[in-house]
């Protein structure tokens, strides 16, 4: 087969697929509505199948053409008499369609596909239906209703008759039959009456056309065939004059004409002939050797020509004069210009709604009349009110483009162009390159701008254009989700039938666009989900009626935008998922233990459906129930960078929401280094980054059952070392023996190409994604604190930690496919090109997890559930502090939660007003406090920082998290943020305003009581500290964080309380049962038993009316309400001394202490 043929065949397949896409939903409508199916839909079906047949014939694809031919015949029957549209008919057609789909999907082997079964079924139906009617299927004339016999029988037509009469006769007859308003024919008549005298169009039209034979009737004067014209216009037909060469032999003439006529009537109708042969069926009287035939059809000229097999110059289109068309909406007239069709959109003024409605009504009965392969408005969506819709629809031509647009529910006439995906991909590729080049240019421009200041704006302009190009190119790859959605009505129908259920599927948001790559991968998960819903969620019809639900289950599939993602929701009103049943099933399968099941919330239990191998179907059917479903859904969706959410109420229904990114082509990623190589880690699924210094290693990383785990808050996180998994270099983070190895690699990691990292000067807030936190400086200052970074990743709801050597950068990366040579490597999902032009691999964490063989059921679950004591220990260890150094070299640690922010300020912002230092910052004036002076502690001078920038005289101002205080503590620099175990020594160094000190890396760190420091410095908060004497009273302070516990205790001690401390709710409860207390101050977030649980247990002790105060790091009105409900008298920020004391003093009168 030649290249051109290949190309043409490709086009055929593409077009056929588009047809099939429309045919399927239409067939479903046909099945649903049976004889009431809208005429348009039947016509569209007919036309679709017909086009496939026609083109298949052209390519000699006889199998396809045979099957589609017989389908077309059956559809012809339906079109002629919709009452034959039984379930058997639509079933057979759907079966045929499936076969057709198979053939077209593999067109080169289509000849070997056996479709005899489908053909036989359809043929049998045809035979029953035919029952003696003439062989030409489209020519069948049912007796009822009998409108316009003239049209189908040209012999009887009398072109000389005044057209208006005909117009009146046709619709009038049927209208009265159907009881439609009488006004209708008048309307039509009026329209034509106006038009006729106004424009002597016919003459000029005729003169424009190639003169053939002018004797007898002028076939090109459509005025003469008004009735046919009305029908034609309403059905979107066009008129052609076909010049037939008659054979010389008279006997042959008859059969020749009959053959042509049969062909014509299979696709339209013969309106008239010239010379008129109505009285001369044998054509014996025709003296000429040519015969002109005027026919109306929906086919395009080229198709018609293929069908009739006559030379192109013997077919000419007869344009419908605009004034005639105008009188008869809906108007899809062919303009005088032959194809391209997109160019011929003819202006057609929309008729007034009233007229329209009536005409539409007229169209109803007219449509009942036989043998009209009319298509009328192919873009009209099914099941809409026919009376209004045509007015809105523009005169889109029955081109493939319009047709496919119709199938996708986009009634748009915007011009479109087919562009190959590979070209688009190339464009995206180059747009990516452009972005890269832009980045490099921007970097380089920095230096040049000094000498050529006009470069700046130019680069900026280029920058913005580049971004826009990239955005638009990405848009070009977007497709509406209806591409996927549209196949579900059929699937649901088949499933419902197979399962004996009734299901109504509603599709919404089909026009939401998603990247092609996302769309492509969406089909499988959605199919799984829909099958699940049909199989398990929707109850049997009887059951539904019994429990008071509508008989038919309602399933909604909707797409919508939310937060820059596209959500796809599948909502059903079925049985819902019972968490208890799932738990039982999971226990049965050994996926969780009973104690785990008990500890699990219903919500958590629901998510067990995503566990592999868990099927909730009572029995395995061929629809679902093999336990490969929801886990596959989740895996697929997560591969797309999306997430799955599930809500369900027993008896009410289930809602599954897929949240998907708009595109996969550009994603945000962290660039990390591991084993001396750089990798990109997609940020989706990255929960946080934890830095583990060598010195903290032993306390933070340990081994559970051979696997290294990281203690992270209240859980143990399984760890994998990326380099190990990839087999790059042998580095085991847990084993101390590896340290020399790591040292050796140190110089490598600081390869000259990379910029020297800056010292960390930033707020003390926890910043999981802090790329520049690279630590060389502190490494040198604190020998032995080589660091590793743990990327905490979430795969399918399970978290694990991936250990990397360094975190370098956060970048938007352009995803490029992984070369096929590496497809076996499950650790990589794709490649990208980094800013410096080197290729980097994108890590697939699910693959890494699989490769590392992490089994969450073994490690994480066990540790998460059963290690009370260890967890307590783990929690005690951790305290996030900011290390700062004063300009006298005193190291201070401030707990991160006490700090609102840390500002870097230039020394020249310091001013002295009234002998006191202030800082002007951000439009406000802060009182500057030097903590070492206030505390009377001076260090031995600033330590030498070998990496400090000579010119860097900037100071750090720590703004405390105390309301209403506008003051800051001034430090020379910030050294580090650490998560460490503070073992507070309250004896070694004592000073008013100092909690105590601790040793860290052989240096003494002091911990100031920030509140007290401000007191000492004479900074008064606007509200004076309440006077209160708590002597003789005993308070129980509960906090899992030792430091905060000491803090709260110190505050209360300061006003005379005696203090007992407990580190979690359980311990507190025990103490409340044995001791006597006057006040309970408890943290809310604690392991084992949190503040709320404690509050609910307190009434069971003898302290049932003890005043309770809740402390929390961050306060919200919501939380305050919740606390109030739980019985707390107040909820205060943990470090807010004044507020705590105010609350305490307010308690006094009411509680009598």
């Amino acid at each position: 087969m030649s290249e051109e043929d290949d190309e043409l065949l490709g086009m055929f397949v593409q077009e056929a697929v588009e047809h099939l896409e429309t045919i399927e939903p239409d067939l479903l409508t046909l099945e649903e509505n049976g004889p009431d199916t809208e005429r348009d839909i039947i016509n569209r079906l007919f036309r679709g199948v017909h086009s496939i047949k026609g083109s298949a014939g052209f390519f000699g694809l006889t199998a396809i053409s045979k099957l589609s031919h017989i389908m077309e015949n059956l559809l012809g029957k339906v079109r002629d008499d919709p009452s034959v549209a039984s379930a058997a008919v639509s079933d057979s057609l759907l079966a045929g369609l499936d076969k057709l789909q198979t053939m077209i999907n593999d067109v080169s082997n289509s000849e070997s596909v056996d479709a005899s079964e489908q053909v036989a079924v359809i043929q049998a139906l045809l035979n029953t239906l035919e029952g003696g009617s003439p062989p030409a299927p489209a020519a069948a004339k049912p007796p009822e209703p009998p409108p316009l016999p003239e049209e189908t029988a040209p012999e009887e037509s009398a072109p000389e008759e005044p057209p208006p009469e005909e117009a009146e006769a046709g619709p009038g007859e049927t209208a009265s039959e159907e009881g439609e308003p009488e006004a209708l024919p008048e309307e039509l008549e009026a329209g034509s009456g106006e038009a006729a005298p106004e424009e002597p169009e016919p003459g000029s039209q005729a003169s424009n056309l190639p003169a053939v034979v002018t004797r007898g009737v002028d076939l090109r004067n459509l005025e003469l065939f008004r009735q046919a014209l009305i029908t034609a216009v309403q059905h979107g037909q066009m008129f052609f004059v076909v010049t037939l060469n008659l054979p010389l032999e008279r006997e042959d003439r008859k059969s020749h004409y009959a053959k042509i006529k049969a062909l014509m009537e299979s696709v339209g109708q013969v309106v008239a002939t010239n010379p008129d042969i109505s009285g001369d069926p044998d054509l014996t009287k025709v003296s000429l050797d040519t015969l002109e035939i005027l026919m109306a059809t929906v086919l395009e000229q080229d198709l018609l020509q293929t069908l009739l097999q006559v030379p192109a110059d013997q077919i000419s289109e007869v344009p419908i004069p605009p004034h005639l068309a105008r009188a008869v909406p809906p108007p899809p007239p062919r303009a005088a210009v032959p194809p391209p069709p997109a160019a011929v959109a003819m202006p057609t003024p929309a008729p007034t709604p009233g007229a329209l409605e009536m005409v539409a009504v007229a169209a109803g009965p007219a449509l009942m009349e036989p043998s009209h392969p009319a298509i009328a408005a192919p873009h009209r969506p099914r099941l809409v009110k026919p009376s209004v819709r045509p007015a809105k629809s523009s005169p889109a031509k029955n081109t493939e483009a319009a047709n496919s647009a119709a199938a996708k529910g986009a009634p748009s006439v915007e011009e479109t162009l087919r562009v190959s995906v590979s070209l688009l991909d190339e464009l995206i590729n180059m747009a990516g390159e452009l972005v890269l080049a832009r980045n490099q240019l921007t970097r380089a421009a920095g230096e040049v701008t000094v000498h050529h200041p006009n470069i700046g704006p130019l680069v900026q302009n280029l920058d913005s254009i580049t971004s826009r190009i990239q955005e638009k190119v990405m848009q070009a790859r977007m497709q509406p989700v209806s591409v996927v959605f549209n196949k579900f009505p059929r699937i649901v129908r088949d499933l419902a039938r197979k399962l004996g259920k009734k299901i109504d599927l509603e599709l919404r948001g089909g026009d939401v666009d998603l990247d092609k790559s996302v769309i492509e991968h969406l089909s499988d998960p959605l199919t799984h989900m829909i099958r699940n819903v049909a199989d398990h969620a929707i109850e049997e019809p009887e059951t539904r009626i019994e429990i008071g639900k509508p008989e038919a289950g309602r399933v909604e599939l909707a797409a919508y935008h939310e937060n820059g993602m596209v959500n796809i929701a599948l909502i059903d009103d079925g049985a819902g998922i019972d968490p208890n049943k799932i738990k039982l099933k999971a226990i049965e399968k050994g996926q969780i233990t009973e104690s785990q099941a008990d500890a699990m919330s219903d919500e958590e239990a629901l998510y067990l459906v995503f566990a592999p191998g868990l099927s909730m179907a009572k029995k395995v059917s061929d629809v679902s129930g093999r336990g490969v479903g929801m886990d596959v859904v989740r895996t697929n969706v997560e591969k797309l960078g999306g997430t799955v959410h599930l809500e369900s109420k027993v008896g009410k229904g289930t809602r599954v929401v897929l949240k998907l990114p708009l595109t996969l082509a550009i994603i945000p990623a962290m660039i990390v280094s591991s084993g001396n190589q750089r990798f990109a880690i997609p940020e989706i699924g990255l929960v946080e980054i934890v830095r583990v210094a060598e010195s903290d290693r032993s306390s933070q990383i340990e081994t559970v059952g051979n696997a290294p785990v990281l203690r992270l808050r209240n859980m143990l996180l399984p760890l994998v070392n990326l380099a190990d998994v990839l087999g790059i270099q042998k580095v085991v983070p847990v084993e101390e023996s590896e340290i020399p190895d790591r040292r050796e690699r140190l110089p490598d990691r600081r390869s000259p190409g990379k910029p020297k990292s800056r010292d960390l000067r930033m707020t003390g807030s926890r910043r999981p994604s802090m790329p520049e936190d690279r630590r060389e400086n502190s490494d040198r200052r604190h020998p032995g604190s080589l660091v590793a970074y743990v990327m905490v990743l979430n795969v399918g709801g399970n978290e694990f930690g991936m250990v990397v050597d360094e975190v370098l950068d956060s970048e938007e990366i352009v995803v490029k496919p992984l070369p096929s040579f590496f497809k076996d490597n499950i650790c990589f999902s794709a490649t990208t090109i980094l800013g410096d032009g080197t290729v980097s691999l994108i890590i697939d964490y699910a693959g890494v997890m699989e490769q590392a063989n992490i089994s969450f059921s073994n490690v994480e679950r066990a540790t998460r559930m059963d290690l009370d004591a260890e967890r307590r220990e783990a929690l005690r260890d951790r305290q996030n502090i900011i290390l700062l150094e004063t300009d006298t070299g005193l190291l201070m640690g401030i707990v991160h939660s006490m700090v609102r922010r840390v500002e870097k300020i230039s020394p020249n912002l310091l001013v002295t007003i009234g002998g006191l230092p202030y800082v002007r910052y951000d439009g406000k004036t802060f009182r500057a406090i030097y903590p070492d002076q206030v505390l009377g502690l001076q260090g031995t001078g600033l330590s030498v920082d070998p990496n400090a920038d000579e010119d860097d005289n900037d100071l750090c101002m720590v703004v405390p998290n105390i309301p209403d205080i506008q003051a800051g503590l001034i430090f020379a620099r910030i050294i580090d943020t650490r998560e460490i175990n503070i073992e507070l020594d309250t004896r070694a160094i004592t000073a008013d305003g100092l909690f105590g000190s601790t040793l860290l890396d052989d240096r003494v760190i002091t911990f100031p009581d920030v509140n007290r420091v401000f007191d000492l410095a004479g900074i008064m908060s606007p509200h004076p500290e309440p006077e209160f004497d708590g002597s003789g009273l005993r308070a129980l302070v509960v906090d899992d964080t030792p430091f905060l516990r000491v803090l709260t205790a110190t505050y209360l001690k300061g006003v005379g309380f005696e203090i007992d401390q407990a580190e979690d709710g359980q311990m507190a409860l025990t103490m409340l049962k044995t001791g006597t207390y006057d006040l309970l101050v408890t943290d809310i977030n604690m392991p084992l038993m949190d503040g709320f649980e404690l509050a609910s247990e307190v009434p069971t002790t003898m302290h049932s009316d003890i005043p309770m105060i809740a402390t929390t790091p961050s306060i919200s009105s919501e939380l305050e309400e919740k606390c109030a409900r739980a019985g707390f008298v107040a909820c205060v920020p943990t470090i807010d001394k004044k507020r705590l004391l105010r609350v305490v003093s307010a308690l006094q009168p009411a509680n009598g202490f």
Partner: protein
């Protein structure tokens, strides 16, 4: 046909020039952990990610061979992809260029471009050393030396029929 020639140690090799996209000096590339040792890594050439095959290792030469070469002086022979070849010559593309991804071969030295008549191409002799017969499309006797025409698809391990 025109053949681009080069050397690998003592071996004199040739690749049909229609399949060659460009040749450049060997440069730093990104190794792919877990890949076969004969894949040297990936390279960015004007936004295309090229997979580089180390021909020496692919032919199974030991490190001893490697010691004699200086990697910096090697060359990358970047091949055209299937679609690029098909644009030029459909028949050759379909028959001999099954690889879809941009790839390159690392060789030691570049040689001349030679015109070779198909008639002169002979089947590889049984005693051909340094290269397995499966990688050889044929040999041409040339100036007392033997030019080995590579079967690039086999070298890349891509099945011509599969594509």
């Amino acid at each position: 046909m025109l053949v681009s020639t080069f050397t690998l140690g003592e071996l004199y090799l040739g690749i049909e020039i229609l399949l060659v996209r460009e040749i450049n000096r060997s440069m730093e590339c990104t190794p792919v952990p877990g890949s076969p040792d004969y894949i040297r890594g990936m390279l960015n050439i004007r936004g295309r990610v090229i997979t580089l095959f180390d021909l020496r290792r692919r032919l199974g030469w030991s490190d001893k061979h490697d010691a004699t070469t200086n990697k910096r002086k090697q060359y990358n022979v970047i091949m055209k992809t299937r679609s690029e070849v098909i644009q030029i010559n459909r028949q050759i593309g379909e028959a001999r260029c099954p690889w879809q991804d941009p790839v390159g071969l690392v060789v030691d030295q570049l040689g001349d471009v030679l015109e070779i008549s198909d008639d002169n191409i002979q089947p590889p002799p049984a005693n051909l050393r340094g290269i397995a017969a499966q990688f050889v499309r044929g040999v041409v006797e040339f100036d007392r030396s033997l030019l080995v025409i590579l079967d690039v698809a086999k070298v890349l391990g891509v099945d011509a029929k599969a594509a």
